[in-house]
């Protein structure tokens, strides 16, 4: 009995020392050029799939059918994922095809995955595969649109993909656009490359409510916001990535460009149908409640008057606070909720919003967001 244990112990020791020698000697190849052995590949994949399946258990999947959500996800895909995973009917980038393991073709692999598994992988990435984590773990609201997009992705052809990512605006250089003063404004190359897909060349955010309007926004606010994204002070998995590539000069150029565009148009100009049911009774009531919150605040809930910082009329900007006139209701409501949960971040003034909106209740958030969003029609 004792003898047997001795033999087992000796063998164990030999195995450990032998293993250590193999590692220390460096004979194991880590080169990507040869790929994995079939059995290694199978084992790693199996381990990965089991891990993702186990860890994604219990994640609650929201409704992912909304087209605006899919379009938002498409924009994220184009800026973050396309570079490795490619797009429909297109040649994979040469460098990417030399990775081990190779980033999978998502059109083939997504149908085999559950939405919560996709969410888990997009959020956390996968170790030692090159799949990065989402840059901002507090922004689940940005990750679900990517999942919503991926669920549609396997059916898309290139034209449909481009339509989702770019909308009516197609990438083309040497564009120009009318500024607010009526002069012709050349569209900076960077805007076409980095911003226009989601925010539009015209800065109207494609009319969906998932991308904010930037046209006519306060230049100083646009600048400090991009700087905040650049320095990871404003939390966003997509905007942080885009802004981190920009230098100060580019940030200034983009801020200046969008601030000079004609400000948020009224709903009639932008979309004729919207005006027909705009003045329903419920909306009038919501508008009035929102107007009161904006003008007076809600002292009992420690909510100050919004209008003391965010004017309800257009006037020259004297500080770096944004104008909210004509901004999308959904976008405004989302920002307030992010502030309440401390998941937004922002410029040096972001902490002011924590104190300001903490007391707002969900229906009040809807009302005050609605009020600012339709203000141009009421001016």
């Amino acid at each position: 009995m004792k003898r047997r244990w001795k033999i087992i112990g000796t063998l164990g020791l030999v195995a450990v020392i032998g293993g250590a020698l193999v590692v220390v000697s460096g004979v194991i190849p880590v080169k990507a050029s040869s790929g994995h052995w079939e059995i290694t590949r199978w084992f790693l994949n199996f381990t990965k799939e089991r891990s993702v399946a186990t860890h994604s258990t219990g994640i609650k999947v929201p409704d992912l059918e909304d087209r605006a959500l899919i379009i938002k996800g498409a924009g994220h895909y184009e800026t973050g994922c396309r570079v490795c995973h490619g797009k429909p009917d297109s040649v994979r980038p040469r460098l990417v095809s030399l990775m081990t393991p190779q980033p999978p073709d998502l059109q083939k692999i997504v149908p085999q995955r559950e939405p919560q598994e996709l969410f888990y992988v997009v959020k956390h990435g996968i170790k030692m595969t090159g799949m990065p984590a989402w840059p901002e773990l507090k922004r689940d609201d940005e990750i679900w649109p990517v999942v919503a997009f991926l669920l549609q992705y396997s059916e898309l052809d290139l034209a449909e993909y481009d339509e989702l990512v770019w909308g009516e605006h197609q990438k083309q250089s040497d564009q120009s656009i009318d500024s607010a003063e009526g002069t012709s404004l050349p569209v900076p190359h960077l805007v076409i490359e980095e911003c226009a897909g989601c925010h539009g060349v015209d800065g109207q955010g494609r009319g969906l409510g998932v991308f904010p309007r930037l046209a006519g926004q306060n230049e100083a606010y646009l600048r400090v916001s991009l700087e905040a994204y650049h320095h990871d002070n404003r939390l966003s998995g997509t905007m942080e990535v885009i802004a981190s590539r920009m230098n100060q000069k580019e940030i200034q150029e983009i801020s200046r460009y969008y601030s000079r565009l004609p400000p948020f148009p009224s709903k009639e100009n932008q979309n004729g149908e919207a005006s027909s049911n705009r003045d329903s009774e419920a909306e009038v009531a919501s508008f009035e409640r929102g107007a009161e919150i904006a003008a007076e605040g809600i002292a009992d809930q420690d909510v100050p008057a919004c209008a003391d910082c965010h004017s309800t009329t257009r006037k020259p900007f004297k500080n770096a606070y944004p104008t909210l006139i004509g901004q999308y209701q959904d976008y405004l409501a989302l920002q307030i909720k992010l502030f309440q949960n401390r998941n937004r971040g922002g410029s040096k003034s972001a902490n002011l919003m924590h104190a300001a909106v903490d007391g707002l209740k969900p229906d009040q958030i809807r009302d005050v967001s609605y009020y600012y969003s339709v203000l141009p029609d009421k001016e």
């Binding site: 002292a299 100050p304 004297k318």
Partner: protein, 336 residues
């Protein structure tokens, strides 16, 4: 012998004797129930002295008895005599003494709790985490609002109408009288009758959160004429800025959003969430009696408020430049 020449010195001396070895400085001065400057506080102080005196006598008797039984006469004692001592001294005497004290104490209460006659000055005080909103009645209607500071005319009764907006606070000016809790959803009352002029300190006497210790206020008891003059000055609109820096400060105050929470009468700033700042420059202190009121402290307050007063609702304005902080503090300093 200098001490004895001062008014109220006898109380101060008594207080010091009692407190020797504990916290000598804590028992006298502007925040001490043992230096009464009001009718209620005098009654409470005399009750305290009667009790302290009685307790001293009982203590001396007990020590003497202990020495007698343990050292002077340690042998077995007479059974019946001992029983008499135990029943008499242990049960009967305390019952009589405590009953007398209770009757005396309860007798004080009605006078302390009584609502004063109609026409008495009524001051409304609301407790907040961690400051006091103070409202004085005004002939012309709208009450005069200030914060963290109370001024009272000497020799007249005053009734405080007390309430709280968040948690339970307790309103206490030890030198003037007893304390009364401020309870959310309820109104409580306290009548004080200041008898001496001087500056006193009030405090929140009920633990109310992180900065409870920084929830204080000053009370100035002054002669009636001086009080009237002060109240007239407080009821006026703000003094217009007197130089360029202060003008810039007022502009900044309005542009930066300060007016969403603070009122400065005479400007667009009409917020009611935070303290009224119309005459902040005239106040004795800043931050509910945390700091001396001067320009440097004003500036630090705006720039670092949450570090100075943990948990405070006011946010820091980090985007302002040093120049802007200075303009703002110059403006506020001028709001006498």
């Amino acid at each position: 012998m200098k001490v004895i020449e001062m008014p109220a010195a006898s109380d101060a001396v008594k207080a010091k004797l009692i407190c020797a070895g504990i916290l000598i400085s804590g028992c006298s001065g502007s925040q001490s129930a043992l230096s009464p400057a009001g009718a209620g506080a005098e009654q409470i102080a005399s009750l305290f002295w009667w009790m302290a005196g009685g307790a001293t006598i009982i203590w001396v008797i007990m020590i003497a008895l202990s020495i007698y039984t343990l050292h002077l006469n340690p042998d077995a004692h007479h059974r019946q005599k001992s029983a008499l001592f135990i029943i008499g001294g242990g049960a009967i005497a305390p019952t009589i003494i405590l009953t007398i004290l209770l009757i005396y104490g309860l007798n004080l209460l009605p006078a302390l709790l009584a609502r004063p006659p109609a026409g008495t000055l009524q001051i409304e005080v609301q407790g907040y985490q961690w400051w006091w909103r103070v409202r004085y009645p005004n002939q012309s209607g709208e009450p005069i609002e200030l914060a963290n500071e109370i001024r009272l005319p000497r020799g007249e009764p005053v009734e405080f109408i007390l309430s709280s907006k968040d948690v339970v606070h307790s309103f206490w000016i030890p030198s003037l009288g007893g304390k009364v809790d401020m309870i959310p959803g309820r109104t409580t009352h306290l009548t004080l009758h200041p008898t001496k002029t001087g500056r006193f300190r009030g405090a929140c006497a009920e633990y109310c959160g992180a900065s409870h210790a920084y929830m204080n206020f000053t009370v100035d008891v002054v002669e009636k004429a001086e009080y009237d003059e002060w109240l007239a000055q407080q009821s006026a609109d703000r003094l217009a800025p007197r130089n360029e820096a202060a003008e810039r400060g007022e502009e900044l105050f309005l542009q930066t959003g300060c007016g969403a929470c603070h009122t400065i009468r005479g400007t667009e700033a009409d917020g009611t969430i935070g303290p009224d700042l119309t005459h902040i420059g005239s106040r004795n202190s800043l931050g509910a009696d945390m700091f001396v009121n001067n320009r440097e402290n004003l500036q630090n307050w705006i720039a670092h408020v949450s570090a100075l007063k943990p948990g405070v609702k006011m946010p820091e304005f980090r985007a302002l430049s040093d120049d802007e902080y200075q303009s703002l503090s110059k403006y506020l300093e001028q709001l006498k």
